[in-house]
């Protein structure tokens, strides 16, 4: 049984932020959870899927984020409580429905958890989801520690039912993927019954049709809800103040930045000079509370990630109340006290306080700092990101790269996010020249594939993962086929949503809770649409290279599906297909005309250049035994032998 439900009320657990959110949802008695995997959000739905049976939940990994929000909303319309979780980019995907949903309102408690990634630790942008709350006009909550992540999630469902609107919770990587103490609350008895009532008055979303029409009428209702939200937020225990009654400087903060702010004040010993207003309800602002604190001082610092969202809303409120509270000096992102980009940390916040309060701070003595620099200068070579040992993507991109070289017409690959996005780096032989949103690789390729009318003769390739195929490739595939674009799509099918932890997708015959479901065959779908389809194994080097070259020549849309499970997949992990060795008598080392092809160019971490022997060798701890490097060594010095697995 999952540790999320096996302990009783009052149990002091150490939970990840995402686990705390999941526990909060369970304590709220949810019935439905849906999402699409994405770092740093995946563990919310994942943990709920593990307790689906015991807690009588319907949990699904939806095909994409928009659908996951629709699935969760359906539960709400049928008077159940539902949670939906996604990373920040997912909110962009869901945003079309989100706006309609804000207009129609909800019935059973409905909570959307958006996990942002300031600093883009596991993303290709650091886009923010907070603006969506303001854009579509729904309340926004931001937990600032792990207990709060749980308690606030539970309350979000009550709030949603009070206001009859979706409530958005915004987390960040340093909350979702950090862990801390959480005291469990009670898990309620559940006896939910789903029923969709639609025969009430046309204008009443609670008993009649659930629509955002008539727009003016429903938009006014939204503003009534927001007014109520402001009143509730003014009294919310999730908004706290610590510090002197009349601080010299007031820091207004939220989320993980609260912890950086407290740390900074502690290290600077500035507790008697600074007050901290921590807001858990960040949109709409609690107006009376914020006004009260603004009136206690003239200097305000706003500490937040990433864009100046809170800063702007506080400034608007300060301008509106200026007659009563006076003119303030604001510090934050707009004046450059804090950086406009990237994630914050205690040191950045320390330097902001240090500057404003004129308190000098040294993280280390200048002597030690200098010594550190000198001593460590040559001792920590950079560790560039790379594909894992045995990763089928390295093999796929090796063959794609070779095919493009042989073709010699400056062909290029359009891609999107996922592990294979790393093909923009040397580990993927730099073949990826375009990388945007999920599915955008093929959409762009569809556009490039029509530019022959303007003299463009470069071959156009696109790559996508198997989970991405269902998420966002189908519409651009239709587009490319329908418009006769000349494109080769390569589906890197590694049998799961690998980057985020092997969540199942519609191509598999198992769902989020382990039940058997019909899998949807990528090849069949592509053929039915009218694409020419080939299927290959990325570990077949010669075959893959030839297939890419052949398909590039043909007109229209061609799909090459390269199938090989991820090296970290549960069925493969720890099992080697081949025992690998470098035969020292055959490896000519530095003397070989290959110029160290295996370690200098292919550079799988499982290969090591032995400086003393001046030859390659296999690192047996790292090597995953995929056998591919044996196929690329021109001297035949890398040998492979079928491994005997117990």
């Amino acid at each position: 049984m999952s540790r999320l439900i096996e302990e009783k009320e009052g149990f002091p657990a150490v939970l990840m932020g995402n686990e705390a959110i999941a526990r909060g949802a369970l304590e709220a008695g949810i019935d439905v959870a849906a999402g699409y995997p994405g770092t740093p959000s995946s563990e919310i739905v994942e943990n709920l899927s593990k307790v689906a049976k015991e807690r009588n939940l319907y949990v699904e990994w939806s095909t994409n984020e928009k659908i996951s929000l629709e699935v969760a909303a359906a539960a709400s319309f049928a008077n159940l409580r539902a949670i939906c979780a996604m990373k920040q980019n997912g909110v962009n995907v869901a945003s079309d429905f989100l706006l309609h949903l804000a207009g129609s309102g909800t019935r059973g408690g409905l909570v959307l958890v958006a996990c942002d990634d300031p600093g883009a630790l596991s993303s290709v942008n650091e886009g923010e989801s907070r603006h969506f709350a303001r854009l579509v006009e729904v309340p926004l909550l931001e937990p600032a520690d792990f207990q709060e992540a749980k308690d606030m999630t539970k309350w979000a469902f009550e709030l949603s039912e009070q206001l009859k609107t979706l409530v958005m919770i915004r987390s960040v990587t340093r909350m979702s993927h950090a862990s801390g103490n959480v005291k469990y609350g009670r898990l309620p008895e559940k006896d939910s019954r789903a029923y969709f009532k639609f025969d009430g008055p046309f204008l009443d979303s609670q008993t009649g049709p659930v629509i955002s029409f008539p727009v003016d009428y429903k938009h006014k209702i939204i503003h009534g809800k927001l007014k109520k939200a402001r009143d509730l937020f003014d009294a919310s225990p999730f908004n706290t103040y610590e510090g002197p009654e009349k601080p010299e400087l007031l820091a207004i903060t939220s989320s993980a930045c609260t912890l950086y702010t407290r740390e900074a004040i502690h290290l600077l010993g500035a507790g008697k000079r600074v007050g901290v207003l921590k807001l858990g309800t960040t949109w709409p602002l609690p107006p009376k509370l914020v006004k009260k604190h603004l009136s206690t001082t003239d200097k305000i610092l706003i500490v937040e990630e990433v864009v100046p969202f809170l800063e702007e809303t506080v400034k608007i409120l300060a301008a509106e109340e200026a007659r009563e509270i006076g003119i303030k000096t604001f510090y934050g992102k707009n004046d450059g006290t804090l950086p406009m980009t990237g994630e914050l940390n205690p040191d950045i916040v320390i330097s902001a306080f240090s500057k404003i309060l004129d308190i000098p701070y040294q993280a280390m003595t200048p002597e030690f700092e200098k010594k550190l620099e000198t001593v460590t200068a040559s001792l920590a070579p950079n560790r560039e990101l790379t594909f894992c040992p045995g990763c089928p993507h390295r093999a796929s991109f090796w063959s794609i790269h070779e095919a493009l070289q042989m073709d010699n017409r400056k062909g290029f690959v359009c891609g999107d996010i996922g592990c294979y996005g790393m093909a923009m780096f040397p580990c993927g032989f730099n073949v990826l020249k375009i990388l945007h949103a999920m599915g955008s690789g093929l959409g762009l390729a569809s556009g490039f594939g029509k530019l022959d009318a303007f003299g463009m003769d470069q071959p156009v390739l696109a790559v996508c993962g198997d989970s991405t195929f269902y998420h966002a490739i189908l519409p651009p595939l239709v587009n490319a086929i329908h418009h006769r674009a000349k494109v080769t799509l390569i589906v890197l099918d590694n049998s799961g949503t690998a980057m985020t932890g092997f969540q199942p997708h519609p191509g598999l015959t198992v769902n989020a809770v382990g039940e058997e479901v019909p899998g949807i065959d990528i090849a069949g779908v592509c053929r039915a649409m009218g694409a020419k389809v080939e299927i290959g194994d990325p570990f077949d080097q010669e075959g893959t290279r030839k297939a890419v070259n052949r398909l590039m020549e043909e007109e229209g849309v061609k799909v090459l599906i390269l199938r090989q499970s991820c090296a970290l997949s549960p069925e493969k992990k720890g099992k080697k297909k081949f025992e690998m060795r470098v035969e020292p008598t055959k490896c000519l080392g530095d003397a070989c005309s290959c110029n160290r092809l295996c370690t200098r160019v292919f550079k799988c971490p499982g290969l090591v250049w032995d400086k003393e022997q001046k030859k390659s060798r296999i690192d047996e701890v790292i090597c995953a035994g995929c056998g591919f490097c044996a196929l690329i060594c021109p001297a035949g010095a890398i040998e492979r032998e079928e491994a005997v697995n117990q």
């Binding site: 770092t39 990587t173 560790r383 980057m499 701890v621």
Partner: protein, 205 residues
Amino acid sequence: MKKGSSLKDPLNIILAGVGGQGNVMASRVLANMLSLKGFRITIGETFGMSQRGGSVMSHIRVSATSTWSPQIPRGKADILIALEPIEAVRVMRVYGNPEAKVVLNTRPIHPVGVIAGELDYPALENIEKGLNSLTPHVWMLDATEEAMKLGNPILSNIIMIGALCGLNLLPVGITEFKAVIKNFFPEKHLAINRQAFEIGKEKVT
């Protein structure tokens, strides 16, 4: 920290290594051991992209009273457990101080740049000399070698936790370890993990 305890509050521990070495698991085991003793714990983890052969780091804050930032401020690491030698240097460069205690697994994992011949991997004796010039408290052991003797290199993370406990730097030991691993590993793996813990302990005492 606790009444009668001489530990710093917050006490800052960094567990560093390379994606795939079981860094996250080790930090959670250690943090849960400390939580059993009643401490408040915050763990900050860097994973996701970093899983793919990159540097991985967990920050553990231990306190009697409060939740601290999941990121440790510069120069404030009290204890550093490194599953890979140059990762110890990388962490020291940002979070080190002259009082830091460093426990280090000597087995290198070469970065891609080293494999490609673009960068040099420093000699172990230079790493040792360098670290020793920064802090007098450095312990080194070949945990991967010991783990391979046990049949699986991944056990090096638990050997390192054992070593840390053997050095008596924290008020936890085998009792807490046994209690915690029950929730982390399947029954059939408990014995080998206990063995790995004991080996780590022996190697430093």
